[in-house]
């Protein structure tokens, strides 16, 4: 068994690596190396001299040696560390030159991710999870990649099927990104009729679109006439009640009843209960992150601030 790249591949790789490369992807089924350069996409067929999996490892080791100075290849066993967003290196883009999917995952989890690097990472590995993680970063959501990733997620949402946590996280990111139209969000909301998990992130975010869905409760007008005469804690409580009796509040409650009547998973229950506490508590509060995070299990985003 050979322990080296074929001379043809070695030569081509050396020429390729002298160019200004943004990212490298290995198409394992076709035994092809694709590179994203400043001039566009370049492809290089591989000529294995041994078993294909062994040869791909040799290619990745060569790429890693060039990009990171790490001849043993990218340390794929660092999965837990990189998934907690610990990768803050200034040379984040170099990880995309290793041809290693795990390195792309490390990049999309990094807090140092920029819109430009997100575009390269997206080319290297376009997956639903990567799109969601990148769109959750404000720098990406507000950049050129924001609408690209949001459109992809909105289109691929039905493919998540029974992955309720992924459904909630994806919709939460779409709402918070501000990259999708109200019509698209309304379309996603309607899917809650069939799978009530779809409602949860809308309730967590107290989505403004709820305001037009239900009429206010019959006695809301009467309450509004009483509030001006109130002061102190009574007034604060009455204002919260006023929000509850409004059209948006009534739509919120109705959706909540549907979820609690038939929740599918434990995550749906936990996030719904946190949303209730956040909605009715006087100060709101909790984790501002649009996606669920391991470090924080407090209620969802701040809502109802007057």
């Amino acid at each position: 068994m050979s322990g080296e790249l074929s001379s043809e591949d070695q030569l081509r790789l050396n020429v390729l690596l002298t160019q200004d490369i943004r990212a490298i992807r290995l198409e394992e089924s076709r035994m092809e190396l694709l590179a994203l350069t400043d001039k566009g996409e370049a492809s290089m067929p591989l000529h294995p001299t041994c078993r294909s999996d062994r040869y791909l490892r040799l290619v990745r080791e060569a790429l890693s040696g060039h990009a990171l100075g790490s001849p043993g290849g990218y340390p794929v066993y660092l999965t837990r560390w990189t998934r907690h967003g610990q990768m803050e290196s200034a040379s984040l883009g170099k990880l995309l030159l290793t041809g290693e999917p795990e390195a792309v995952v490390a990049v999309v989890h990094s807090p140092a991710l920029t819109d430009e690097i997100a575009a390269w990472a997206w080319w290297a590995m376009p997956s639903i999870e990567n799109a969601r993680l990148m769109l959750a970063r404000p720098t990406v959501a507000q950049g050129k990649m924001g609408s690209v990733l949001a459109d992809f997620l909105a289109e691929h949402l039905p493919f998540l099927q029974d992955d309720h946590l992924a459904i909630m996280d994806t919709i939460a990111v779409l709402i918070h990104s501000g990259c999708v139209s109200d019509e698209t969000l309304a379309g996603i909301w309607k899917r809650g009729k069939r799978t009530n998990t779809y409602y949860v992130p809308f309730l967590e975010a107290n989505w403004p679109g709820l305001g037009t869905m239900r009429p206010a409760r019959g006695d809301a007008t009467h309450l509004a006439t009483v509030i001006p005469a109130l002061q102190g804690p009574d007034r604060a409580l009455a204002l919260r009640l006023e929000q509850t009796l409004s059209g948006a509040g009534q739509a919120w409650i109705e959706a909540l009843q549907e979820i609690l009547a038939r929740p599918e998973t434990q995550e749906v229950v936990s996030r719904t209960l946190n949303a209730i506490g956040g909605f009715f508590s006087p100060d709101g509060g909790g984790c501002p992150s649009p996606v669920s995070c391991q470090a924080c299990c407090s209620p969802g985003p701040v809502i109802w601030k007057r």
Partner: protein
Amino acid sequence: MLQPWSRDLEAIKELAAVSEQSVIPVFARSTAIGSLMRRKIEPVVTPILEHLEALKTPRT
């Protein structure tokens, strides 16, 4: 002045205290989902649904 809405205000105060902490003792002992999970959390969910229903009922 808020007398007509006393039931609503009581519901709001109760719901403000709701969080996943209420179901942690259940979820810590079981990985159930679907109908089995719904049966296990019924004692937690039923009072919440009652408060929500109260908030939909006009008082005056």
